[in-house]
Amino acid sequence: MPETRKQTRPIEILMVEDSPDDVELTKESLKGAKMSFKLNVAEDGVEAMDYLKREGRFADAARPDLVLLDLKLPKKDGHEVLREIKQDKDLRRIPVIVLTTSKNEDDVTRAYDEYANCYVVKPMDLIQLIGVAKWLEDWLTVVKLPKE
């Protein structure tokens, strides 16, 4: 559970992101964290839903504690994924943090209307990204997540 000292298993993160560079940089930014994370990646919206529903090659996937969701995705975009998660009575409790380059007000409003838990604009460089990773860690030490 997300209390640093008592952490028995790594925090399962599903990162829905089509850019390997972003995945790499996110991994890099989480390296300095005291908490232990497991970063799982879905490269598009369809894969993300398969992962969450444990379908196909994701049959053995762990239920994520947190979803980091990009909006611009191949096949099925982030807004659709968000809506599907929040309409699914098993998945909707999983906190979804939208992580996107878009500063567009419409995207922000739409995402919250679709019950995003949080909307974060992707930092423009690594230093700032490390800051976001630190914030995420702090946040996880403070919040109480649902059991399942």
Binding site: D21, L25, S102, N104, D125, L126
Partner: protein
């Protein structure tokens, strides 16, 4: 006779005389009402007699002027005299009835028009014993006919002078009138129209239409609804387009036919279609551009972020092995990437202020200006800037856009400050159907040669070290103001500050002026 039995022989004669007198009186009355005079000539006695009414028609005194053919002829208009004499003479010679129209001139000079009818009376041996007939005063009837003739000629001239093709058809679907324009427009040979064969004319019409059946149906419908006015557009096989109007033709409240008018609107329609297409193209190209700018901005930022981030990763990971020079290069590359990100953000911001059909509302420009100052609170405090608002009117605009314009102009004044703390003044003037807003600053001012260039996107007059920013603020002002039909410009002298001015169409101006003449003002 029943009258004889009741009154006896003497009473019967009295009654007969009474009856005769009565009928004579009636005859006189009838002649007077109908303006018909009676005349008779006894050939043997060479004596002419005529009724009182005839005397009156000729303007003669029935008691003083005795009937005589010469007396009559004297009254006939000189120009008609010969014709009258010859008509009568030849009719008598040929022992046949006659009739003619002539003008008579009354002694006072008044001209009347009369119709004279005559019969030649023969005895049992075929000898000409008398001539007799009537003279009718037709002046009033003929005046009416003349009027009618005049209005008919006016009507014909009107029908021919219009650019529309006109056709009048009666209830039996027979053509009763049309103008030349009609046959011209429908290219119906004049022989077809002259023949009066309506079926053939209709065939000509139908053969040219794209949907003849629809037209036929519509026509039949209209004939069943007597009173309907109607309008329709007809498309021709050769591409021409006519507008068709139709109205019932009425006589004393009764529909007796239908008037059809056709107007060739081919050119007008083509222009409309071309304009609509252009507007559509323009809207599409605008939407494309907007989307292009937005997508390009997002997609451009991604790799830029990767470049900056990996450069930083390089420094983090291998910093110990890099000398100071190498670290400086990395920092410069990262700063360059950051500047480009800002440019892209500004481009995105610029494209966001695309003219859209946002609702125009009455906006209090004073509160818009105050909101702009509020949004700039940090810059205002940091720069120790003062913003003073004059009397600002209510205008019809999009509030968010007005706030943005004020905000960019105030920010500009704070940024390009001189040695003194920035002093910014906003005022407005009404007149000439517009409101002119002026945002004045006491900043560094601008050389006149740059007055128009500064409103172009990414135009900078100074290096980024001295005044940061990419030069998008004024471009956005220009885009917003011009998008709403206004103008924006600057008046400035280097070192003396600048007056940025923009206009908004003044829809409430008239109203406001009226309010100002209020005596309590």
């Amino acid at each position: 006779m029943s009258a004889g039995r009741s009154h006896g022989p003497r009473g019967a004669r009295e009654a007969t005389i009474q009856a005769l007198k009565k009928s004579e009186a009636l005859l006189k009355e009838a002649q007077a009402i109908a303006h018909i005079g009676y005349w008779e000539r006894d050939v043997a006695a060479d004596r002419l007699a005529w009724s009182e009414e005839l005397s009156r028609i000729l303007g003669l005194d029935p008691k003083a002027d005795h009937p005589n053919f010469q007396v009559f002829l004297d009254r006939v208009h000189p120009d008609d005299r010969t014709r009258v004499r010859e008509t009568v003479e030849s009719a008598v010679r040929e022992r046949r009835p006659f009739q003619y129209f002539a003008r008579v001139v009354r002694p006072g000079g008044e001209v009347r028009r009369v119709q004279v009818r005559g019969n030649v009376g023969l005895d049992s041996r075929g000898e000409h014993v008398r001539t007799y007939g009537t003279v009718q005063d037709c002046t009033d009837v003929m005046a009416g006919e003349e009027l009618l003739e005049q209005s008919l000629s006016a009507l014909r001239a009107v029908i021919e002078s219009t650019a529309d093709g006109i056709l009048v058809v009666d209830r039996e679907e027979k053509i009763t009138a049309y103008n030349n324009k009609f046959t011209e427009m429908w290219r119906i040979p004049s022989a077809v129209m002259a023949s009066g064969d309506d079926a053939k004319a209709v065939e000509y019409v139908l053969s040219q239409l794209k949907e003849p059946e629809r037209f036929k149906k519509k026509v039949r419908e209209l004939y069943s609804q007597d009173d309907a006015d109607s309008f329709d557009v007809l498309e021709f096989k050769d591409g021409r387009i006519f507008e068709r109007y139709s109205m019932p033709q009425k006589l004393s409240g009764r529909t007796i036919g239908r008037v059809w008018s056709f107007r060739d609107v081919t050119r007008q329609r083509r222009t409309e279609i071309a304009l609509a297409r252009q507007a559509q193209d323009l809207a599409r190209s605008n939407a494309d551009l907007e989307q292009y700018a937005s997508v390009a901005s997002h997609d451009l930022k991604e790799p830029l972020r990767v470049v900056a981030s990996y450069l930083q990763l390089l420094e983090q990971r291998y910093g110990e092995n890099l000398d100071e020079e190498a670290s400086k290069y990395i920092r410069r590359a990262v700063a360059g990437a950051a500047r480009m990100q800002n440019l892209i953000d500004d481009l995105l911001e610029y494209s966001r202020w695309t003219y859209r059909d946002k609702p125009l509302r009455e906006v209090d420009s004073a509160s818009a200006a105050r909101q702009a100052v509020e949004n700039l609170k940090q810059a205002v405090l940091a720069g120790k800037a003062g913003v003073r608002l004059g009397e600002l009117p209510r205008v019809v605009f999009v509030e968010s856009e007005l706030i943005q314009v004020f905000q960019n102009l105030i920010a500009n004044g704070i940024k390009f400050r001189g040695a003194e703390p920035p002093r910014i003044r906003i005022r407005a003037e009404r007149g000439g159907g517009e409101v002119v807003f002026t945002v004045s600053d006491n900043g560094i001012g601008i050389e006149p040669e740059y007055f128009s260039r500064i409103f172009q996107i990414f135009t900078r007059l100074h290096g980024p070290q001295k005044y940061p920013g990419s030069g998008v603020g004024l471009a956005i002002c220009k885009k917003i103001v011009e998008g709403r039909g206004g103008r924006v410009w600057v008046e400035s002298r280097p070192g003396r500050g600048s007056d940025f001015k923009f206009t908004i169409k003044d829809k409430e101006g008239e109203h406001a002026r009226n309010a100002k003449t209020d005596p309590s003002d």
